[in-house]
């Protein structure tokens, strides 16, 4: 019965650890992205004048464009980091957990 399997996994301390560590990781990255995105939108909404200034005297690069280009790259890098860590560390923990539950079933 898969319900028994779920019960076995749930009571395994490894499950609590996986959920806790991965949950914190997911929410930390989400909050970083949300704060940066809505922070940027608040600047767009309340202080648009800042964005049109150039990054340095004599440069043609406006602050807004430069910041946004950085956000595009940074957001993508967060997804890269997430996928690398999830597909190795967390997937191993997950496989270990399922293995444990199946071993117990075998006994």
């Amino acid at each position: 019965m898969s319900s028994e399997m779920y019960e076995r996994m749930r009571s395994n301390p490894k499950f609590q650890k996986l959920v806790q560590v991965r949950g914190r990781f997911q929410w930390t990255l989400s909050i970083i992205v949300l704060v940066m995105f809505y922070g940027y939108f608040l600047v767009v909404a309340f202080a648009p004048g800042v964005l049109v200034k150039k990054i340095t005297e004599g440069s043609m690069w406006p602050i807004g464009y430069t910041v946004e280009l950085f956000l595009f790259i940074f957001f993508w890098l967060t997804t890269l980091y997430y996928v690398i860590r999830s597909n190795s560390e967390f997937d191993e923990m997950r496989a270990d957990l399922i293995n444990d539950a199946q071993m117990m079933e075998g006994k």
């Binding site: 898969s2 319900s3 990255l29 989400s30 992205v33 608040l42 946004e68 993508w76 957990l97």
Partner: protein, 557 residues
């Protein structure tokens, strides 16, 4: 198979008809028949027919039909998702927006883009682990099958149909301009090709058409961008100096402008685009075409990379066009620089491709734009058909007793019906301002699909009553706000003043949906609500581990 052949013949006949109609229409349509474009497009169509034939041999079960047997790799699926997301509206509309309004377009693009990381961190894993064919599989996982599925299917169909009409009307106008075909012929062509891909090839054909088109689009866009940037020695400084010198906005070109007139609109747009993406049925469905959560994550990584890259290319295209197209009398009606662009504002990127690469490149890009429309409408039609056949027919009406064969049959019939609806409404809405429809689609996706979906994955306390109130409340409030806003109340109906002062509904409609779902759940003390909460524990373990999900770890007995 006979039916496929008949349809193919009919299609060829109708293309021939279009050719014959070409010269006669030249008087009313600005663009002459573009043979380069038609030739390249015919080549694309013949390849996709080959794929559809190949896919039809492998499409037998519902699993094949809805999710291509679950065997798409993360990289392929990433390209397909990016393809779904990079519609003709993206290529033509956003480059035109960059050309006309400058920096506003770039802000818009970031809002489209920033939903992806959130979808990846908070949703991708659980979507894949809990769902099978449609996102309603997840919202109804432990809730009442009939009523919650019906609600999810209705809001999916609302999103699909609004999005489909917007794409069809855009397609008709575009093809009229690019190929010199009659509007109605173009609409029929899109409708028929869409039905052929989806009804015969299911998700397999739809995905491969999308992948091929995504590659063509990325290649075409990059090529035009390289050729155009070479005129500025690949220097952004040089480009921007010239842009600010010639554009009517001058130094304000790179400043946020009229698109976001007030803070509420800005935040509401951000919310609507970010969470709307996370509620689009045809995008959500793609998470079920890969084998497991690992591949689902990779899909988002690639999709996110391709769309981010492409948005930046499009913005550069718009900037280059300001100097290259905006200064050339050849592209303006009557040769008046600064007047109306030939073919209208959306033609910016097409004119640019002609300016930097001649008729060959123009033809190529036009063919790619057509292919883009086809691939996107096919994905939409499949998502709509799945809502009808899998959710409503197989689960609600037949209560799970329908055979595989019957279900696939119903989804094919639903595809044909959706094709017909799309063609009829595409013609009916021909002369209307349809910009609001995309807003409506995103508004309903953000305010109805997303809140119930995310609550069903994260909140133990959600009950059937809460899900229904949240879902229907979201649909009704999003539609009402859009109807009462300027884009429908004034622009379409013709009243003097809008009853709802903002054009973006998300900031108001989303809290209504979440609030109703919460209130109606916590006050629900029925026995069924208790039973639903008791089912949470198993759902939670499955969501976290993927154990028991379709196509992954098999239960050992």
């Amino acid at each position: 198979m006979k039916f496929l052949l008949t349809l193919a013949l009919f299609l060829l006949a109708s293309t021939g008809l279009a050719h014959a109609a070409g010269p006669a229409m030249a008087a009313t349509v600005k663009q002459p028949t573009n043979w380069h474009a038609i030739g390249m497009f015919a080549f694309f169509v013949s390849i996709t027919f080959g794929i559809t034939y190949w896919a039809s041999k492998r499409t037998k079960t519902t699993n094949d039909f809805y999710v291509a047997g679950g065997g798409i790799t993360g990289f392929q699926n990433g390209l397909a998702i990016a393809g779904d997301y990079m519609s003709a509206a993206t290529l033509l509309g956003l480059s035109a927006m960059a050309y006309g309004r400058g920096f506003d377009a770039y802000i818009y693009m970031l809002a489209f883009f920033a939903g992806w990381p959130i979808i990846l961190f908070l949703m991708a894993e659980r979507l894949r682990n809990l769902g099978r064919f449609t996102f309603a599989d997840i919202t109804s996982y432990r809730l009442n099958q009939s009523s919650v599925r019906t609600m999810a299917a209705i809001s999916s169909l609302v999103v699909v149909i609004f999005y489909l009409i917007a794409q069809m009307v855009g397609a008709g106008q575009l093809i009229k301009l690019l190929f010199g075909l009659d509007y109605n012929v173009a609409i029929f062509l899109v409708g028929i090709l869409m039905v052929v891909y989806v009804a015969f090839g299911g998700m397999m054909a739809t995905t491969w058409v999308q992948i091929i088109k995504a590659c063509l689009l990325l290649f075409g866009g990059s090529l035009v961008c390289i050729l155009a940037m070479s005129q500025f020695d690949f220097s952004f400084t040089k480009l921007l100096t010239q842009v600010e010198a010639v554009h009517k906005l001058g130094p304000k070109f790179m400043a946020p402008g009229a698109l976001l007139p007030d803070p509420i609109t800005a935040i509401s747009l951000g919310l609507g685009l970010m969470f709307g993406t996370a509620g689009l049925p045809h995008i959500l469905m793609r998470f079920f075409t890969v084998n497991d959560a690992k591949e689902a994550r990779k899909s988002v990584l690639y999709a996110n990379g391709f769309t981010g890259y492409f948005f930046n290319v499009i913005f550069l295209l718009g900037l280059c066009a300001v100097v290259i197209v905006g200064q050339n009398p050849e592209f303006f009606e009557g040769g008046k620089v600064g007047g109306t662009l030939i073919g209208g504002g959306n033609m910016v990127v097409m004119h640019l491709s002609k300016a930097v690469g001649g008729n060959m490149l123009l033809g190529f890009l036009a063919a790619v734009a057509f292919a883009t429309i086809l691939a996107v409408v096919a994905g939409l039609a499949l998502a709509g058909a799945a809502a009808i056949s899998h959710d409503i027919y197989a689960r609600v009406i037949k209560k799970g007793t329908a055979t595989e064969k019957e279900e696939v049959r119903v989804s094919q019939i639903a595809t044909v019906a959706l094709g017909l609806i799309a063609v009829i409404l595409g013609i009916a809405f021909q002369k209307m301002n349809i910009a609001f429809m995309v807003g409506l689609a995103f508004g309903v996706a953000a305010a109805a699909n997303f809140p119930v979906l995310i609550l069903s994955m994260y909140w133990k306390g959600l009950t059937t009553r809460g899900a229904l109130w949240g879902g229907y409340g979201g649909v009704i409030s999003a539609v009402t706000f859009v109807v009462l806003s300027k884009s429908v109340w004034v622009d379409v109906i013709g009243n003097k003043e809008a009853l709802f002062p903002y054009t973006q509904p998300a900031i108001f409609a989303m809290p209504i949906a979440f609030g109703l779902a919460y209130l109606m759940s916590v006050t629900d003390n029925s026995a069924s609500a208790q039973a639903e909460k008791a089912l949470w524990e198993d759902q939670y373990v499955r969501a976290q581990t993927g154990f028991g999900s379709s196509g992954t770890v098999k239960v050992k007995h």
